[in-house]
Symmetry: C2
Subunit: 159 residues, 2 copies
């Protein structure tokens, strides 16, 4: 009795799995899951919240609109996540005396503490992820990402 060979998911010559966007999204979603799990365990934060917390931490003092501009994170998403972070006492919001629309955001002491504790862990994670990559691979990877990002601009006009 012969063993069935694994059906290979391919399209003509090019296996589907090698469409680099497929590969990319797979890897991305795994990294995402990993980061989420680590952050949940280590800091009780979701990935978005960590991102925002660390942005506020590194900017020192901001406002929602600045975050939105600097990062392309959706305003709505920012607003909701900030609400949570403020409620949890990790970020403080002080409204501006002159412009009553804006809130000045900064880390609370608790937020700063969490940031200071978590950042090195996340750094270490980055290091571990990079570790297996050869320097030129890393370099190529960065530059490839750069180019892909540009190419992602193309709206597909002439297909």
């Amino acid at each position: 009795m012969s063993v069935q060979p694994e059906k290979t998911v391919s399209i003509g010559d090019q296996p589907l799995q090698q469409f680099l966007t497929y590969r990319l999204s797979r890897v991305q979603s795994k990294l995402n899951a990993q980061a989420s799990a680590i952050l949940q365990k280590q800091a009780g934060l979701t990935l978005s919240r960590w991102r925002i917390l660390s942005l506020v931490g590194s900017l020192g003092e901001t406002r929602l609109s600045e975050l939105a501009r600097a990062t392309e994170i959706d305003k709505g998403l920012l607003s909701r996540n900030l609400k949570g972070l403020i409620a949890d006492g990790l970020i403080t919001a002080e409204s501006d005396d002159y412009d009553h629309r804006v809130q000045h955001l900064r880390l609370s002491p608790a937020g700063q503490k969490l940031f200071d504790e978590t950042l090195p862990k996340m750094r270490r994670r980055q290091a571990i992820l990079r570790e297996p990559l050869l320097p030129k691979e890393l370099e190529a990877f960065r530059s490839a990402l750069e180019k892909l990002e540009t190419a992602a601009e193309w709206r597909g006009e002439d297909l």
Copy 2:
């Protein structure tokens, strides 16, 4: 009057934007948006639906469980998307005579047509995305992805 320098979002020496996972997820989400837009316009499909359609197209004949195993796409997601594809007449589902749980999935003529029309466009997109990359960059990129995928397995035990 001096121009305010752009506030650089950095953490110590390492700018946040260069955390490669950040970069990766940014690029990924742009590519995603691009693919979605193109697919919507060219084929009236969402990205997931296209993925599933193309999987069925390339496997020739499958079932949900096989798709789930082969691709790590969630069963629930598969089920719902398939329902839609079937409703739209792009995929046919024939229930097995012996095992009444399974449905045999294949492309309908309409589905095949759409697949045949869309695949080359998506191929062209892949080509366009790859175009700016030097061969060695592409190679390094692939291998980096490979390594990252492995590294993403790590559960963060010893942080």
